[in-house]
């Protein structure tokens, strides 16, 4: 089954309760659900856990969607709500628990981790600091199968607005990273100057 965005997803059949249709719809939308979660979840919340919660909510509530054209905006709202609510819960839980795990578990987790480059982590942090209306379309555009038109459909906005937000969001991201780099360089320079003064004083 194609993982790409598909305009011909059997949304009506899914709403009517056909399991195979709903599975097909889920496969067609789950990647952009992941992007929306990434854009809205707290850093410490588990992406896979949240994906499963969204999947469960889709199963339980899809029959409440009145019209197939409302499905994507509905799913986006469901996803954002889960990201925020469950994210807060996960955050509280993790902060409240000081977990000690055995070495075997540690090794297993290390193997299962997704590895991101330092550059990707740095850019992601900066992207997550963007205002919400820019963050979401910028991240969605990085999901290769989504065009401006498709992003506009999910966000219920005109295509021109999406293009403008992506362009502006990219500029803001660039400026944020430039400012961070500048700050880091300045901090490094100050540190070196301080060290030089100390060494000079010691003499």
């Amino acid at each position: 089954m194609s993982e790409r965005w598909d305009q011909t997803l059997p949304i009506q059949a899914a709403i009517e309760g056909h399991a195979d249709a709903l599975s097909q719809v889920w496969v067609g939308v789950r990647r952009w659900v992941a992007v929306i979660l990434m854009a809205h979840k707290p850093r410490e919340a588990d992406l896979e856990d949240l994906m499963q919660l969204v999947a469960l909510q889709v199963c339980r509530k899809v029959h409440e969607v009145r019209d197939p054209s409302l499905f994507k905006p509905w799913l986006r709202t469901v996803t954002i709500n889960i990201a925020r609510e469950q994210g807060r819960k996960a955050s509280r839980k993790r902060i409240g628990m000081f977990r000690l795990v055995g070495k075997t578990r540690y090794e297993a987790n290390q193997m299962g981790n997704m590895q991101l480059s330092e550059d990707a982590k740095r850019v992601l942090d900066a992207a997550l600091s963007l205002p919400e209306k820019y963050r979401e379309p910028v991240l969605m555009r990085c999901q290769q199968s989504m065009s401006y038109k498709q992003i506009a459909e999910v966000l219920s906005l005109p295509e021109t607005t999406i293009e403008t937000r992506i362009a502006r969001g990219r500029r803001m991201l660039r400026e944020t990273l430039e400012a961070q780099t500048k700050q880091t360089l300045e901090a490094k320079q100050t540190k070196e100057e301080t060290r030089t003064i100390r060494v000079g004083g010691a003499k």
Partner: protein, 230 residues
């Protein structure tokens, strides 16, 4: 992109600085997306002839886009591993879940109580004959391979408590799903929570990365040792 709604032309005289910056952003964005038209490229060349900084901005924006694509590819891999509960090949389970969740949801609380009574696991003291627990009552000499799940569980609890590895079982089970069956019975899927204790020579604190994946960080034992030893 064939029919662009926004038509950037940075060469227009009298254009405001804000508008010019907006069109500059659009051009860079389209080049990154690979959707720039010949007109866009012409505008970009004109822009670059007057402002060499645009090349640096384009390069930075491209690199940042690639970095975010890396993140989203990783997120897509996670997404691809998540199917609907019940699986696509099990329409009976799925339909049952959708249509009966609300109707049978109320059974969850009752089911917890029933399970607690049925399994006799409300208490952790398995040696008390009054609790109804069967720990220690497994026929001696019965090997684990032949034991039923309940007998094997009791063996585990009993042996674990004797060795000190098992502290006990939480009194409440977590009900995941309650489902009526065609023959009038009820199927309950639930989690039993066993508390174990271990002594480790090295501990790790669990934290998370950008995706919420657990990452283990070694705990400084000196910090732990400052606490009163148990």
């Amino acid at each position: 992109m064939s029919d662009k709604p926004n038509k950037p032309n940075t060469n227009e005289p009298g254009m405001s600085a804000e508008h010019s910056a907006h069109l500059r952003d659009l051009l860079i964005s389209r080049v990154i997306d690979g959707s720039a038209s010949p007109e866009d490229w012409s505008s970009f060349r004109v822009l670059a002839a007057n402002d060499a900084q645009v090349w640096t901005d384009l390069s930075d924006a491209q690199r940042e886009h690639e970095a975010l694509c890396e993140v989203m590819n990783a997120a897509s891999s996670v997404a691809d591993g998540v199917d609907l509960p019940g699986g696509s090949g099990s329409p009976l389970v799925f339909e049952s879940r959708v249509s009966t969740t609300a109707r049978w949801g109320g059974w969850a609380i009752a089911a917890v109580l029933m399970l607690g009574w049925y399994t006799g696991s409300i208490t952790v003291n398995t040696n008390d004959p009054n609790t109804g627990n069967t720990a220690g009552m497994i026929p001696t000499g019965k090997i684990l391979k032949e034991a039923s799940p309940e007998e094997a569980m009791d063996q585990y609890m009993h042996a674990g408590q004797q060795s000190g590895q098992v502290v006990g079982e939480m009194p409440n089970q977590i009900v995941i799903e309650t489902r009526p069956m065609k023959d009038g019975t009820i199927e309950i899927t639930y989690i039993r929570q066993i508390i174990e204790r271990r002594v480790l020579d090295q501990a790790y604190r669990e934290t998370v990365d950008e995706f919420g994946n657990p990452i283990a960080v070694p705990v400084n034992l000196d910090t732990l040792n400052k606490r009163k030893p148990q």
